[in-house]
């Protein structure tokens, strides 16, 4: 039987270590019982939003729950991913209650992965890279001019800045990551994914003995100097890879 392998890791950035503030990334990976679909959500709480970390945690939980229900109801992956974004906003609004919504600001990237296609929906500067038949495609939210500006789930411009697309299969792997990893993972000039960066990561996920979230080896990679010297931000990476067994060649 063929199946999805999922590994994920998240490391708190040096900036948070310095300030003594908690990391504000959150992720959740969920492989559905029939193993046909895997749902991944990564959120990056806004730097100085006092409850950004809570906003991120609430967002990924609500997003995955909503996508699970949507997939069970027969929604195509792209619809499930979009529903996940909408559900996340409603959940964060609920968590905020009477507090300012902006205090819970967070980005959100949701991938609904099946072998035949992946639905990807993103708000903000988190990103999704899909490997389909050897080609890499990237989905990320609308970027602002400045590196310290982005549009959050809780922003007024949410609906204008969200991006979603379907990548057709066969899907070999999907990576979902927070912007801390973008400097390494994407070519800055073109925004295209760096193939040499992703190939070994997908291979690693494919060969993982068990799905691990968090995965120890991936944690070590994210904490390594190679990554740390390029960013002082939190770094979160979730990888899903298709492992074909002998039976399906």
């Amino acid at each position: 039987m063929a199946q999805w392998r999922a590994v994920a890791g998240s490391v708190v950035g040096a900036a948070h270590d310095r300030d003594g503030t908690p990391g504000q990334d959150a992720f959740r990976v969920h492989v559905l019982d029939d193993e046909a679909t895997t749902i991944v959500a990564v959120a990056d709480g806004a730097g100085s939003a006092t409850e950004g970390g809570i906003g991120a945690a609430v967002a990924v939980d609500a997003a995955v729950d909503a996508a699970v229900v949507a997939v069970a109801g027969g929604a195509p992956p792209i619809d499930a991913a979009n529903i996940a974004l909408d559900a996340a906003l409603v959940a964060v609004e609920g968590a905020a209650g009477d507090s300012p919504l902006g205090d819970f600001a967070s980005t959100l990237a949701v991938a609904v992965v099946t072998r035949s296609e992946t639905g990807a929906a993103v708000i903000g500067d988190s990103a999704i890279v899909v490997s389909a038949a050897g080609d890499l495609e990237v989905v990320t939210g609308e970027a602002g001019e400045y590196v310290n500006e982005t549009t959050f789930l809780t922003s007024k411009a949410f609906n204008a800045a969200r991006r979603a697309s379907t990548v057709s299969g066969p899907i070999d792997g999907v990576a979902v990551f927070s912007d801390g990893l973008a400097l390494l993972a994407l070519d800055a000039a073109t925004g295209w994914p760096h193939a040499p960066f992703f190939a070994p990561l997908f291979e690693f996920a494919r060969s993982a003995e068990d799905s691990g979230t968090p995965d120890e080896a991936l944690q070590s990679f994210l904490a390594s100097p190679r990554v740390r010297e390029r960013t002082d931000d939190d770094v979160t990476l979730a990888l899903v890879a298709w492992r074909a067994t002998d039976a399906d060649g």
Partner: protein
């Protein structure tokens, strides 16, 4: 050909950005070096520039991210330092002479800034909202209204942040028409405190992440409104 002409060529920009792909935080120092700045004022300004370079350099991230250009206006407008990271910035020792062509100097600063942004984009270097920091002890002796309009348009478009500081004797009313933000008046010759504040502010901006609300350090040590 001077070193600076070599460094400003697009090919070497590409090399610089390849070697140091950190996001950039551009800051133009737009400094009045007219005759009235002679003596204690220009000495204090030069000392302030050295304090700025030393303080930013002490921050390992900021020294790779903050890029400074120095444009002076005293008699003529001069680009004394082209954009360079603070790690590669040698603070100039400025002299003071001549009139105050502030309008032209602002236009030159804005032109340089636009060209620098273009270079960032061409090389895929992410960047922060740039700053222009104007310091003067007088009033423009040239046409300045077109420059003021450009400053207002750029602020409106979120294209930059323009700060104006008046040294004793400055025409604060005209400065108030040029800058959108309320101009600050320097206390005495507290240039070192002023530039340390600028350093702290740039260090903060250059380490900020999406969603950060920047609260700049207090200006009480050197300014009054």
């Amino acid at each position: 050909m001077s070193d600076q002409a070599v460094l400003s060529s697009p090919a070497l920009d590409a090399v610089e950005f390849a070697v140091n792909p950190e996001p950039r935080c551009a800051c133009v120092l737009l400094l009045d070096t007219s005759g009235s700045m002679q003596g204690a004022a220009i000495s204090a300004l030069n000392e302030g520039l050295r304090a700025f370079a030393t303080d930013v350099s002490a921050d390992p991230l900021a020294r790779q991210r903050v890029e400074v250009a120095v444009v002076t206006f005293g008699g003529a407008v001069q680009v004394v330092n082209e954009f360079a990271t603070v790690a590669n910035f040698t603070p100039p020792t400025l002299g003071a002479d001549g009139g105050t062509p502030m309008g032209h100097a602002i236009e030159v600063a804005l032109d340089r800034l636009e060209a620098r942004k273009e270079s960032y984009r061409a090389n895929g270097v992410p960047y922060y909202r740039p700053w222009v920091f104007l310091v003067t002890d007088g009033q423009p002796t040239d046409e300045w209204k077109a420059a003021a309009q450009r400053v207002h348009d750029a602020e409106e478009a979120n294209g930059l942040a323009f700060f104006a500081v008046g040294v004793d004797g400055a025409d604060m009313t005209t400065l108030g028409k040029i800058a959108v933000r309320t101009p600050l008046r320097l206390q005495g010759l507290a240039f070192t405190e002023l530039f340390l504040w600028l350093s702290r502010s740039q260090r903060q901006v250059s380490s900020s992440r999406p969603g950060d609300h920047l609260s700049l350090p207090p200006v009480q040590g050197w300014a009054s409104i």
